[in-house]
């Protein structure tokens, strides 16, 4: 079980940005867009066979030529403001059919990623995922930020379009981040590395669908680029968002009218501080959220 580094770049206090698939692939799309936009260079990988079942066999003329596994690759980029390390996992190492990584394998993988980051002098890590929220798909997704140390709270409050867990009504600052996007935060804390998980909001009614939600990735990307002090061309993700919005709207129009009427009320719900005065009362809001909850039998959650 190991890491294979093709080269060891000399980096100055780099920041790690890690992404794995999750709900709507929100985090993965954001991190991969940033990596691609900065033209980061691949420099290593985690050997996949201990973590994953192979994804593809290649046979030529009756002979086994290759067995491909989900990729887990490291990239680096030196930018004007700071040096960056990217880690992108094509799958989360799951056990016994679970949706997200947990247990020994997940812990091993989180440690391997941090082994490389710390070896290269990493000072901070970011992970990214989705926050399932009672929002409407026509709204701009906010970004939820969860640090692994109190020392980062003031900094995160300064990020645009970003809220903390304590800003969300009824949460009292509490929550749960499933899978490696969350676990890495904990393992980083254990190893003395500050880390933040940045989650883009996805509407509650889209969370179970096998659709990417790049609109939330774009919100994440805006926060990440601002906090890292880097710029990338956004045309690619804007096109992706426009295409996704058309798909989501088409899907939405196929929902039964009764459900759509309920979901449309989400346009008027503000569940996170600072709340601006809206066209509905607190009582209306409570009733709307209860009605929608009845449809989906689930509260907000994160990955």
């Amino acid at each position: 079980m190991g890491v294979s580094l093709y080269k060891e770049p000399e980096l100055e206090k780099p920041v790690l940005i890690a992404g794995w698939p999750g709900i709507g692939n929100v985090g993965l799309i954001a991190v991969d867009t940033l990596r691609g936009g900065l033209r980061a260079e691949e420099f290593g990988e985690i050997e996949p066979w201990d973590f994953f079942y192979p994804k593809r066999i290649v046979i030529r003329n009756g002979e086994l030529k290759d067995l491909e596994f989900p990729s887990n690759k490291f990239y680096f980029k030196k930018t004007e403001k700071r040096d960056l390390i990217f880690f992108i996992g094509e799958e989360q190492p799951t056990e016994e059919g679970r949706a997200y990584a947990e247990g020994r394998k997940a812990y091993q993988m989180a440690n391997l990623v941090l082994d490389v980051a710390l070896k290269l002098g990493c000072q901070r890590a970011y992970t990214s995922g989705a926050a399932v929220a009672p929002i409407h798909h026509t709204m701009k997704p906010k970004v939820w930020a969860v640090p692994n140390t109190e020392a980062l709270i003031d900094e995160l409050r300064g990020y645009e379009n970003t809220i903390l867990m304590s800003d969300i009504e009824g949460r009292k600052g509490q929550g749960n981040i499933t899978g490696l996007n969350g676990l890495l935060l904990g393992v980083a804390k254990k190893r003395g590395l500050e880390a933040v998980c940045i989650m883009g909001e996805i509407p509650v009614y889209l969370q179970g669908l096998p659709l990417p939600y790049p609109k939330a990735s774009k919100s994440v990307l805006e926060v990440l680029t601002a906090s890292l002090g880097v710029r990338i061309e956004m045309e690619g993700i804007i096109e992706l968002v426009e295409r996704s919005e058309r798909e989501v709207e088409n899907l939405y129009q196929r929902f039964p009218l009764e459900i759509r009427e309920q979901l449309d009320k989400l346009k008027y719900v503000t569940y996170a501080r600072p709340a601006e005065p809206g066209p509905i009362t607190e009582e209306d809001k409570k009733r709307i959220l209860e009605d929608i909850d009845k449809f989906f039998k689930k509260g907000p959650k994160e990955d």
Partner: protein
């Protein structure tokens, strides 16, 4: 607490050089388990070890099938007279790479295995009346050369389509390659309506190759009788049901069936042949 060994060895076979045959307990047409059970019986092979299930299978209880509780098994058998090691196992649910390497740890250490053959069935959309073909996939040019001496379909090009995953036999073959062990996967296409049943014709096709390869000289009259009994049942079903007969005729003419027709055919075959166990 001391770390327990992931495998148990209860006899020490003496081999200078041997070949390994692997079959998985869950397989299309029951090919894997039937072929290795048949070899074990005919060659009077002896158990000599097993892989402990704890790291590789869900042990939250037992699976009950056909009124009987089942428990995952991963056992090694040896047949000294033919320099053969036979491994039959349930399909592991986790830690596949570790599991597959354990197989080689045991057989390299205790049996000096130099060559691997996996046996298995794959789904075909042809009719059961067509002769069975044996496909072979080699993990090295040298093994391909060995296979060229036999009547096998061995020139296939293939890439796993999106949404599907390679088989565990392919994974094993890849691990063998990494460990410098020559290997081949042998596959017989099984008519889709026999996948959940038994396909003795497919077993025989595989056994014929192994018989020639290892000069086993197995008397397979009993297998021929089983094939005859199944063919007879299928023929009777076709006489009783013109609808089923028409479906099979279409498959014989390389025409396809609709999903609904395929389901009706599978159901009728299941009712006619029974589940096979």
């Amino acid at each position: 607490m001391s770390q327990e060994s992931p495998f148990r060895i209860y006899a020490k076979p003496e081999f200078q050089s041997s070949s390994l045959i692997v079959g998985w307990a869950e397989d299309a047409g029951k090919l894997g388990p039937k072929v290795v059970d048949y070899l074990n019986k005919k060659l009077e092979a002896q158990d000599f070890g097993e892989i402990e299930p704890v790291d590789f299978f869900s042990l939250g209880g037992v699976l009950v099938e056909n009124d009987v509780a089942h428990f995952p098994e991963s056992k090694f058998h040896h047949c000294q007279a033919y320099n053969l090691v036979i491994f039959k196992s349930s399909l592991p649910r986790a830690e596949w790479y570790k599991f597959l390497n354990l197989i080689f740890d045991v057989i390299e250490q205790h049996c000096h295995v130099k060559e691997l053959y996996t046996v298995g069935g794959m789904v075909s959309f042809g009719a059961h009346t067509a002769p069975r073909e044996l496909f072979a996939l080699a993990n090295s040019p040298e093994m391909k050369e060995v296979l060229s001496q036999y009547d096998l379909a061995r020139d296939m090009d293939y890439q796993t389509p999106p949404g599907q995953r390679p088989t565990l036999s392919s994974f094993l073959l890849w691990v063998a390659k990494r460990r410098n062990i020559a290997g081949a996967s042998l596959w017989v296409p099984i008519p889709f309506y026999l996948v959940a049943m038994e396909d003795p014709q497919a077993w025989k096709k595989t056994l014929e190759f192994l018989d020639r390869r290892f000069d086993l000289r197995i008397d397979s009259t009993d297998l021929d009788e089983e094939i005859g009994r199944q063919n007879e049942k299928m023929a009777q079903l076709r006489i009783r049901s013109p609808e089923i007969d028409s479906y099979i005729r279409r498959l014989e003419s390389n025409l396809s069936l609709t999903e609904e027709e395929s389901e009706r055919l599978v159901k009728a075959i299941e009712e006619s042949l029974g589940k096979g166990d």
